[in-house]
């Protein structure tokens, strides 16, 4: 694994451009904050979490609406001052709340699942400062030769340090 460590996001973006110009495939980029515009540069498709959120929201709303309908209208209709059993306006708050609840939990758990985030997962960190002040471009060393050229491209782009890691991750465990 070859790591190009930058201390400035703009220089890192510059580094990505240079690597791409030289047809060096980029494994991944690790940054302490979101970098806007990097997805386009790396050709990463837009996130589809919004679709998941929408589906979970519809599901949540339908579930609670069905529960309220079943209990209040079908299973045990109560006569409250002769008012209609199917009093839809009263269903609105519940339907609304559960739409939100399911959207939030459904979407966030989809996000965790898709990004392999869960409590206790060994963090696959390549450089410990990638969550602090280093913007790291990672390049798979296997098959990408010569390494010296890649090192030079990164240094030219303004990398403050270039690391050659034998192991893929500096994992803790």
């Amino acid at each position: 694994m070859i790591l190009g460590l930058f201390d400035d996001p703009d220089e890192m973006m510059h580094g990505i451009e240079k690597l791409q110009k030289n047809s060096v495939p980029i494994y991944d980029v690790y940054t302490p904050m979101p970098i806007h515009g990097i997805e386009d540069k790396l050709g990463i498709k837009e996130s589809r979490l919004g679709y998941a959120a929408f589906c979970f929201g519809c599901l949540g709303g339908s579930v609670i609406f069905s529960i309220v309908y079943y209990t209040l209208v079908h299973d045990w209709p109560m006569n409250v001052g002769g008012k209609p059993h199917f009093a839809m306006p009263n269903f609105v708050p519940f339907t609304f709340e559960w739409t939100i609840l399911w959207t939030a939990f459904g979407m966030v758990f989809t996000f965790f699942f898709a990004s392999h985030l869960f409590p206790g997962r060994a963090p696959r960190v390549m450089d410990l400062r990638a969550t602090d002040d280093r913007f790291v471009i990672a390049i798979d060393a296997k098959g990408n030769i010569p390494h010296d050229d890649i090192t030079k491209i990164l240094q030219d782009a303004g990398a403050v340090e270039v690391k050659h890691n034998d192991r893929k991750y500096v994992s803790y465990e």
Partner: protein
């Protein structure tokens, strides 16, 4: 693009010279990675004594029942629901800052959203104690859930506003929690990567294995935006539904259509006051002057004056409508509020919520830290009185003059209320010790665009409208964390 610079006439959101990305991490994590100072210990000891009082009083209530409270057959809701509504209202500012201001792209929220969201969660926890407390038989709280039961299939009453409240508050709490925790992941990972030994292991588990890769960040931002989008109507719905608890009744003084917007404005009003109370101290004690600047304080004061004025208009409208309705019971309820035996509560509310916040129109007061702090506490006192006035003064004189009474709290009422403040501060003080009180990643995002140093560099480079530069320099006067001498030459 992170290199895109914003207009010079906007105030800087990060002040100070030579702030680097590493500096931000160091500054924010200082209280997490070091032993607490004396101020923290004093605060923590006082707060935890309060939390003990709360624990004792609430246990007393659970053991002996709510007969230990000062309630009587006329006044069936008093300090319990007052405290509940007060705390839920305080929670609202956190969601407003994290969600509504995100949708409006107000970047100044980035440095205050974390602690405001934490405040929301702790405030809702405090509110929940009253909900469970006032049930009397807390162990039967699950009866509010639509569970199959042994009484045939007698379900919960979905037509009741109290049932709506169960759903609203539980959704609000859990969605706020997940929003807050998702936002925390990158910052927990930052602590993890700097920690050693057992601390590293613990933070590693809590970080869910966060690495900060491109795809994760992209999903993170999408999820945050959608969470903000759904939290915005959620936060408005929560206090609307809380107001339904009153508005759907037939009680004079409660049965008004103005309640939902009026409650929401009041909630944001009290919430921002509490954020101000907490952050003015946290800023000083934690040394975060460069991130929570005078601009942030002034902006919050402006929101306080806006929402405070909305609340003031609502009070006057309520009075007008009571008269205009022509219903003598409604009219009596309001006359009784302002001139009856609880006149002092009504006028405390009016003074604290409507009159004193108007002082924020004066720039000097808006920019004074001690004045802002004192006024924020006055607002919170006023908002507590508002709920007390709505609840107790509407109830204490019902349709039957022979049952007219006053409400006198017992020591248990007082203990639970004062104790819940202690509980709140205990949780908040623990939070600032173990988790970053400022969203590190989000503040880093502002460094290259909205920081004072970036703007100073732009001025030095020239190419700017001199008039705008003058305007910018003038706006820096209010900052207590800016070295104005730097601007003499440029």
């Amino acid at each position: 693009m992170s290199s895109h610079s914003e207009s010079i006439i906007r105030e800087p959101l990060i002040t100070g010279k030579n702030i680097t990305y590493a500096q931000i991490t160091n500054d924010v994590l200082f209280p997490v990675e070091n032993k607490p100072n004396k101020a923290w210990w004093i605060g923590f000891i006082v707060a935890s004594i309060g939390a003990m009082v709360w624990l004792f009083s609430i246990s007393w209530t659970f053991w002996y029942g709510i007969g230990e409270w000062g309630l009587n057959k006329t006044v069936g809701w008093a300090w319990d629901i007052t405290g509940f509504v007060w705390w839920v209202g305080i929670g609202h500012a956190g969601t407003l800052i994290s969600a509504v201001l995100l949708l409006f792209r107000q970047n100044w929220r980035n440095s205050i959203n974390r602690s405001a969201e934490a405040m929301t969660i702790f405030a809702v926890i405090c509110a929940a104690t009253y909900i469970f407390g006032h049930m009397g038989r807390t162990w039967l709280a699950y009866w509010t859930l639509p569970l199959p039961n042994q009484y045939g299939s007698l379900w919960v009453n979905w037509n009741s506003a109290l049932m709506m409240d169960v759903f609203a508050i539980s959704t609000y709490f859990s969605v706020s929690l997940i929003f807050w925790y998702t936002g925390l992941l990158p910052d927990i990972a930052a602590i993890r990567d700097r920690a050693k030994g057992l601390r590293r292991r613990i933070y590693s588990i809590c970080s869910f294995g966060w690495t900060g890769s491109v795809k994760t960040w992209q999903r993170f931002e999408t999820a945050s935006l959608i969470l903000a989008g759904i939290s915005t109507p959620l936060v408005l719905s929560v206090h609307t539904i809380v107001s339904f608890d009153f508005a759907t009744s037939l009680e004079p003084g409660w049965h008004t259509t103005i309640f939902p917007p009026y409650f929401v404005a009041g909630a944001i009003f009290s919430g921002f006051a509490m954020v101000q109370t907490l952050l003015l101290i946290a800023r000083k004690v934690l040394g975060l002057e460069n991130y929570i600047t005078m601009f942030h304080i002034e902006s919050m004061n402006k929101i306080i004056i806006l929402t405070g004025s909305i609340v003031g208009v609502a009070y006057i409208t309520e009075f007008f409508i009571a008269w205009y309705s022509g219903v003598e019971y409604e009219q009596y309820a309001f006359i009784n509020r302002s001139t009856g035996p609880y006149w002092w509560a009504y006028w405390s509310m009016m003074t604290c919520n409507v009159i004193t916040p108007q002082l924020f129109w004066f720039r000097k007061i808006r920019l004074s830290i001690p004045a802002s702090w004192v006024l924020s506490i006055i607002v919170n006192i006023g908002m507590w009185f508002e709920r007390f006035v709505i609840i107790v003064t509407s109830l204490h004189r019902d349709y039957l003059p022979s049952s007219w009474v006053m409400f006198y709290p017992t020591w248990v009422d007082v203990g639970i209320f004062v104790g819940s403040i202690g509980l709140f501060f205990t949780m908040f003080l623990l939070f600032i010790r173990v988790l970053p009180s400022v969203a590190i990643a989000e503040v880093k995002l502002l460094l290259k665009t909205s920081s004072e140093q970036a703007k100073l560099k732009l001025i030095k480079e020239g190419h700017l409208d001199p008039e705008q530069v003058e305007f910018y320099k003038e706006s820096l006067q209010k900052f207590d964390s800016v070295e104005l001498a730097d601007y003499d030459k440029v």
